[in-house]
């Protein structure tokens, strides 16, 4: 269970999807496909490997050859070699890899961008309406210093939006 990290990642998929790119979701065993539609993901161009078992890295590598964005949730702690091989593939192909990880099993290599949800607050009327996520962003280059943003998931257009 999480604080909106999966929703945030899926909304990143929606940006690529809206531009006509193919995406793949690996290792998310029960994806909320209705939520994906609401976030603006075009399901016609999304492939799912819900239960890759031991072969999550191989599946992700296969898919990086064919789609523009791969969202992967390793079933356990990702090994250094597997992670490095995947990131090499990403550079080679010019694609995007989003890795979802838990704090106790972090992605073993530094990423270009690292998003961490630090706080989640619901906006509710007679039902849950939206959620303010406080996201800490760090990484390489300009992002090195780190910064904090509040995003609304979903916003009126259904996407995640920075405030």
């Amino acid at each position: 269970m999480g604080l909106g990290g999966l929703s945030l990642a899926l909304s990143l998929v929606s940006e690529a999807s809206a531009q006509g790119h193919w995406a793949a979701v690996v290792g998310v065993d029960d994806p909320g496909v209705v939520a994906m539609v609401e976030l603006g993901v075009d399901l016609r161009r999304v492939l799912f490997v819900p239960r890759p078992r031991g072969a999550w890295a191989e599946s992700a590598a296969d898919l990086l050859d064919g789609v523009d964005l791969v969202l992967v949730r390793p079933p356990s702690r990702a090994g250094l070699i597997a992670a490095r091989r995947l990131m090499d593939r990403v550079r080679e192909r010019g694609t995007v890899l989003i890795a979802l990880s838990e704090p106790r099993a972090p992605w073993p290599l530094p990423a270009d961008l690292f998003f961490r949800v630090t706080q989640a607050e619901w906006v509710a009327s007679s039902k849950l309406d939206a959620r303010y996520l406080t996201v800490h962003v760090s990484g390489r280059g300009e992002a090195q210093r780190g910064s904090e943003h509040v995003v609304v998931v979903p916003n009126r257009r259904g996407r995640a939006e920075a405030n």
Binding site: G4, L6, P31, V33, V34, A35, L63, G66, A124
Partner: protein, 359 residues
């Protein structure tokens, strides 16, 4: 695993040059689907349908089998072979042998079959030299040994033999759904619905090639696409169906009206988890026939040691069920926990199920 009723109609298995086979297949498919929703034409001569829903509606498996047999007799004029088992592979075998495999016995049923049922003569010959004559004996070989001794194809068959994959490669005719849609005059509609065979670009070809690679690596069921369909909750409006299967090609991606308002949970459990809901005095929270709660929920119990305080809830909202479950009364409820996590629950009188996580 889900039990399927497989319907084998010998008269429709061989395609006649006058197009009558395909026309009759379509008529029979529509007639069966009217009785039992989600009936599927797997390939010419073979239809399957999930048994559980119709069985509840018609009052038992035997009643469904009678209706289906009569339906085929009425439409085609000959009696079908019927069989029930778990998974497509076993269900077809059950139909060929006209047996009803009891729930939970499909594993033993599959293992007792002669190796010929896997459809590869070379494998059967090699195995019989090794003294292996049944699917079970082949399944008991370590997969590493299968890899050494046989070709790649045998590894997939080995997974079918072990029950890891529920259908044989080639068991489905991937073009049949499209041909039936053409015959219905729904070709345009059909093309619009699918990325793979609609307007194709270079990106589609690359994605398809990648999907093939993953399927070769992990098996037929491993790679999936999303399908949207009717239902009042996000947990039954969207499902994953195997990539390349007829359901995947006929999938509907239009948003469904009358559903629980957005946002939907980013995780929807394919197998809802039973949980307990307690009020402030630690009594179980019960929903009565009018859909009112006995008390405000204060805590949710997952398994005995895991208890979470509830800080906010909304609902219950009653659900309109599929037609064969109309007598059941269910409702949705949203919870926010003290930890900040939000959950979607389904209530069925005094029982509660976790169906979604807003993660």
């Amino acid at each position: 695993m889900e039990q399927f009723l497989a319907v084998w109609v010998d008269a429709l298995a061989l395609e006649q040059p006058d197009g009558s086979t395909l026309r009759d297949t379509l008529v029979l498919l529509d007639a069966l689907d009217a009785l039992c929703p989600f009936t599927e034409a797997v390939r010419l001569g073979l239809f399957v349908l999930p048994l559980r829903g119709p069985s509840r509606f018609f009052g038992g498996d035997a009643a469904v089998l009678d209706m289906v047999r009569q339906c085929v007799l009425d439409v085609v004029g000959v009696a079908p072979k019927l069989g029930v088992a778990e998974g497509l592979f076993c269900a077809e075998l059950a139909a060929q042998r006209e047996v009803i495999v009891p729930r939970g016995a499909s594993d033993a049923f599959r293992r007792a079959q002669p190796l010929e049922v896997l459809g590869r003569k070379d494998l059967t010959t090699t195995c019989s030299r090794l003294g292996l004559h049944t699917v079970g004996a082949f399944a008991d070989l370590a997969s590493a040994r299968v890899g050494e001794r046989f070709n790649k194809h045998a590894l997939t068959l080995h997974r079918v033999a072990c029950g890891e994959l529920t259908e044989l490669e080639g068991q489905r005719d991937p073009r049949l759904a499209r041909r039936l849609a053409q015959l219905r005059g729904e070709e345009e509609f059909f093309d619009e619905q699918q990325g793979f065979f609609g307007q194709r670009g270079a990106g589609d070809d690359r994605a398809e090639a990648a999907a093939h690679r993953v399927r070769r690596r992990l098996g037929a069921d491993a790679i999936a696409v999303a399908s949207l369909h009717g239902g009042r909750g996000p947990e039954d409006q969207g499902t994953l169906v195997p990539w390349g299967s007829p359901q995947a090609q006929a999938r509907d991606l239009a948003p469904w009206p009358g559903r629980l308002a957005a946002p939907s949970p980013a995780t929807t459990l394919a197998h809802p988890a039973p949980v307990q809901l307690r009020d402030a005095a630690n009594r179980p929270v019960v929903m009565d026939a009018r859909g009112t709660l006995s008390a405000e929920p204060a805590a949710v119990l997952f398994s005995s040691p895991l208890r979470r305080e509830v800080v906010w809830y909304a609902g219950p909202w009653p659900l309109v069920e599929r037609w064969w479950t109309r007598r059941r009364r269910r409702a949705h409820l949203q919870l926010v926990l003290a930890t900040g996590e939000a959950l979607l629950m389904v209530a069925e009188s005094s029982r509660w199920w976790l169906v979604g996580i807003y993660d």
